[in-house]
């Protein structure tokens, strides 16, 4: 598949001097759904704002379908739709008018059938003649999505689309994103909810302190999640994994006090009995045996809360 969005060495320092993005590299394939996970202040919104033209990059390049966001901003931006994190709408305007406005603003001629289609898809058709201030919070969020889709973009940014949204509506949102994928729209969404990333994303990126820490296929991550770890704690410290245990792919942890064995819980044979027998046969004394399940959450937490060694 072709790369639709390419971010290279993107840096953003705000006027205060604070560096919110510290050299971000990210390539996004056409048609995929990618979830960006990260704690508050990680730089998710800054990344989106810079790609969309709301803030200026300090350095680095971003291209959308090959169009540079600075030199070819017209072509680049007309391919992008943005749903901001904060709800921002004209309170006294009618729903349908704000959506028509967005379409016109992005250079597309008036086309009532397209607007009708979008409003119906977002269950807003009945509310089309209501003023925005008469809508509930969830409906307003859907109006934002409708506005972002009004010009039929190929890339959609959803900045925390399900923050403060009930379970029902969250499922609705996921359905909308799925449907957009069927139309070939590439979606980049940010979220704090790991289950959200699990539910809809093809790939998951983790961002913290202005840096992308990991981008991986969700399935790879899930596979890693299906793995369990067996920690064999020893009474003696080792320099290396003993040769007799070489077949187990063990990792030496805890400064040599622990042998770490990864296995697949779903496999018919986990190999635990054999491993423990072999460990005993090699003459090592066991202190304790612990099993752990690694989840996406674990991976996320361990990535984000690493001790600050890179100053």
């Amino acid at each position: 598949m072709a790369t639709i969005l390419s971010i290279q060495n993107l840096r953003k320092a705000y006027a205060s001097g604070f560096e919110a993005l510290k050299g971000v590299n990210l390539d996004i394939e056409e048609g995929e759904i990618i979830a960006l996970l990260g704690p508050n202040g990680a730089g998710k919104t800054t990344l989106i704002s810079t790609v969309c033209g709301i803030t200026m990059p300090t350095s680095g390049t971003v291209t959308v379908a090959g169009f540079d966001i600075l030199n070819n901003y017209r072509q680049a931006r007309s391919l992008i739709g943005l749903v901001p994190q904060e709800i921002a709408l004209e309170p006294f305007e009618k729903v349908i008018n704000t959506v028509r406005f967005s379409r016109g603003l992005f250079g597309k001629g008036r086309k009532d059938s397209a607007v009708e289609d979008i409003l119906k898809r977002l269950s807003l058709w009945d509310k089309r003649d209501n003023q925005i201030r008469e809508l509930s919070g969830g409906m307003k969020r859907r109006v934002l999505i409708a506005k972002a889709l009004a010009h039929e973009p190929r890339v959609l940014f959803l900045d925390e689309p399900t923050a403060g949204v009930d379970v029902e509506l969250r499922k609705d949102m996921w359905g909308i994103v799925e449907q957009l994928r069927a139309d070939g729209v590439t979606t980049i969404l940010t979220t704090h909810y790991i289950e959200e990333a699990e539910a809809i994303a093809d790939r998951v990126g983790v961002i913290s302190k202005g840096e992308i820490l990991l981008v991986e296929d969700k399935d790879t991550l899930m596979a890693r999640m299906g793995k369990k770890q067996l920690d064999v704690q020893l009474t003696t410290q080792l320099d290396a994994v003993p040769d007799v245990l070489a077949t187990y792919d063990l990792i030496l942890g805890d400064g040599g006090w622990t042998l770490i064995y990864s296995y697949d819980v779903n496999a018919e044979r986990t190999g635990i009995t054999k491993l423990l027998t072999d460990v005993q046969a090699s003459g090592l004394q066991l202190r304790d045996v612990v099993t752990r399940q690694s989840s996406l959450e674990d991976i996320f937490v361990s990535l984000v809360h690493q001790p600050e060694e890179t100053g």
């Binding site: 200026m56 007309s78 992008i80 901001p84 709408l89 305007e93 008018n97 406005f101 992005f106 250079g107």
Partner: protein
């Protein structure tokens, strides 16, 4: 040039105006009528004529200018400040439009509204005084230029302002005094020489004088000077807008 986008912004702004059309028109019409009653009838009965024009008629161009300038500024400044305030500016910034197109949409709409109100006031004044406009084309051209240049000025204020107080500050502290001291209700020649000299530094004097010339053929300053003054003011505003565009001042961080 993204004309579709300009039209979208223009139409959206005009819709806001027409949604509150009664409010938008009642207040200028009412205050104009009051001016006519107070200045035209009460004071005018004691002032016979100014430069050969009845006092009631003489103040019409000044009144229109006063309203058009304040309306042009407030419409345009509010028009661009409001999206900044409620956050909808994100959409303008992420749209495939140039700053010039944004300016054309907002300033165009604000100037149209000001023009509209100016014409309403002109019509209102026919109910109070006999008016014989000598040079209607020049009158319309002057009105249009003033609407556009003050809307531009208002747009700059709206970009600059970071709270509602600042939004009110410039119109209140700078524009209103300049307009009142600019000969709206009197001829500069009625002032003592010192004040006449000081008035020459007031740009509004030139606008009102030129506008009044289109009505009655009388002028405080030569019409060419008036034209030069408004051209200068418009180019200053355009220059400021161009600079904002180049630097992204107060818009894009």
């Amino acid at each position: 040039m993204n004309w579709t986008a300009i039209r979208a912004i223009y139409a959206f702004e005009m819709a806001r105006f027409f949604r509150t059309i009664a409010q938008s028109l009642i207040s200028p019409v009412l205050s104009t009528s009051l001016y006519f009653v107070v200045f035209g009838a009460a004071i005018g009965s004691r002032i016979d004529q100014v430069e050969g024009v009845s006092y009631g008629a003489f103040i019409v161009p000044g009144l229109i200018m006063l309203t058009v300038m304040t309306q042009g500024i407030s419409n345009a400044s509010f028009g661009i400040y409001f999206p900044k305030f409620i956050g909808t500016i994100y959409e303008l910034l992420s749209a495939p439009v140039s700053f010039l197109e944004i300016v054309m949409g907002y300033v165009g709409a604000a100037a149209t509204k000001a023009m509209f109100i100016g014409i309403i006031i002109l019509i209102t004044s026919f109910f109070f005084v006999d008016l014989d406009i000598q040079n209607p084309l020049a009158m319309i051209a002057f009105l249009l230029l003033t609407c556009v240049s003050f809307a531009l000025f208002g747009f700059i204020i709206g970009i600059w302002a970071s709270n509602f107080e600042q939004l009110q500050l410039v119109p209140l502290l700078v524009v209103t005094p300049l307009v009142f001291l600019g000969g709206s209700f009197y001829s500069i020649s009625m002032l003592p020489p010192v004040w006449q000299a000081i008035s020459m530094f007031n740009p509004v004097v030139y606008l009102i004088s030129g506008f009044r010339w289109a009505f009655f053929g009388v002028e405080d300053v030569p019409i060419a000077t008036s034209l030069f003054a408004i051209a200068l003011f418009t180019s200053l505003c355009l220059g400021a807008v161009w600079w904002i565009f180049k630097t992204g001042w107060r818009i894009r961080q």
